[in-house]
Amino acid sequence: MADPSSFPGMPRWAKVQAVMVAALFLAVLAMASGLIRHGGSAMSGHAALWGSHR
C-alpha cells in the first residue's frame, strides 16, 4: 500500500503534456538550427525591414 505521506507523483495529464512540450521544444530547436545555418535572426530581419542604423 502507498504511503500517504509520500509524494503522490506526477499526474497522468502532466506526463502527457510534458511529452508534448518536449516534442515542441525539439521541433523549435530544429527550426532554430536551420535558421541560424541560413543566417536568419531577429536583428538581421529588423535591419532588412528598416535598414541598418550603422
Binding site: S5, F7, P8, M10, P11, W13, A14, Q17, A18, M20, V21, L24, F25, V28, M31, A32, L35, G40, S41, A42, M43, S44, G45, H46, A47, A48, L49
Partner: protein, 169 residues
C-alpha cells in the same frame, strides 16, 4: 512574496490583456499570411507581408514579452508559485518556447516583407511564405493550449510544491 488582493487583480488583468492580445494579434497575422499565400493580386500580397512584419514588431513581440513577464510576476506574487504546480510550470515552458520561436521567426518575417515590397511574386519566396504561415498556425494552437491550461488549472503539485505544502522546506 504575496501580493495584496487589489494588486493581484490588477496584475492578473494586465496578464490576461497581454495574453489574449497576443492570441488576437497572431490570429490577424495568420489571416494576412493566408491572404499573402493565396492571393493573385500583387498589391494585396505586398501589403499583407509588410503589414505582417509591422504587426510582428509593434504588436506581437511587445505583447509576447509582456505576457511572459506579467505571467512570471503573477505566479511569484500568488500562492500558485512558479514551480509548485504542474500547470504553471508547463504553461511557463510553453510560453518560453513560443516566445523563442517568435523571436527566431521575426527575422525571416521582416525579410519576407522587404523582399515582397520589391517583387511580391518572387518564386523563391514561396517556401518562406509557407513556413511563416505554418509557424503562425502552430503558434496559435500553442497559445490556445496555454490559455486552456490557465483556465482549467488542472490539479497536480510538483515535488517542490508538495514539500512546500507539507512544510518540509
Amino acid at each position: 512574496m504575496t501580493m495584496s488582493p487589489r494588486l493581484r487583480r490588477f496584475a492578473l488583468t494586465v496578464h490576461i490583456i497581454c495574453s489574449i492580445g497576443w492570441i488576437g494579434a497572431l490570429a490577424a497575422f495568420l489571416a494576412l499570411a493566408l491572404i499573402g499565400l493565396t492571393s493573385r493580386d500583387i498589391e494585396t500580397v505586398r501589403i499583407a507581408y509588410v503589414a505582417n512584419a509591422l504587426i510582428t514588431w509593434n504588436v506581437i513581440i511587445p505583447l509576447a514579452l509582456s505576457a511572459l513577464l506579467t505571467g512570471i510576476v503573477q505566479a511569484l506574487g500568488t500562492p500558485w508559485g512558479l514551480f509548485r504546480n504542474y500547470w504553471v510550470l508547463i504553461k511557463l515552458l510553453i510560453i518560453l518556447i513560443a516566445t523563442f520561436m517568435l523571436l527566431m521567426k521575426a527575422g525571416p518575417i521582416s525579410y519576407l516583407a522587404a523582399a515582397s515590397a520589391e517583387d511580391a511574386m518572387r518564386a523563391d519566396l514561396f517556401g518562406l511564405r509557407i513556413s511563416v504561415t505554418v509557424h503562425a498556425a502552430v503558434g496559435l494552437l500553442v497559445l490556445l493550449w496555454a490559455a486552456a491550461l490557465g483556465t482549467y488549472k488542472p490539479r497536480g503539485l510538483t515535488r517542490y510544491g508538495w514539500r512546500k505544502q507539507q512544510g518540509a522546506i
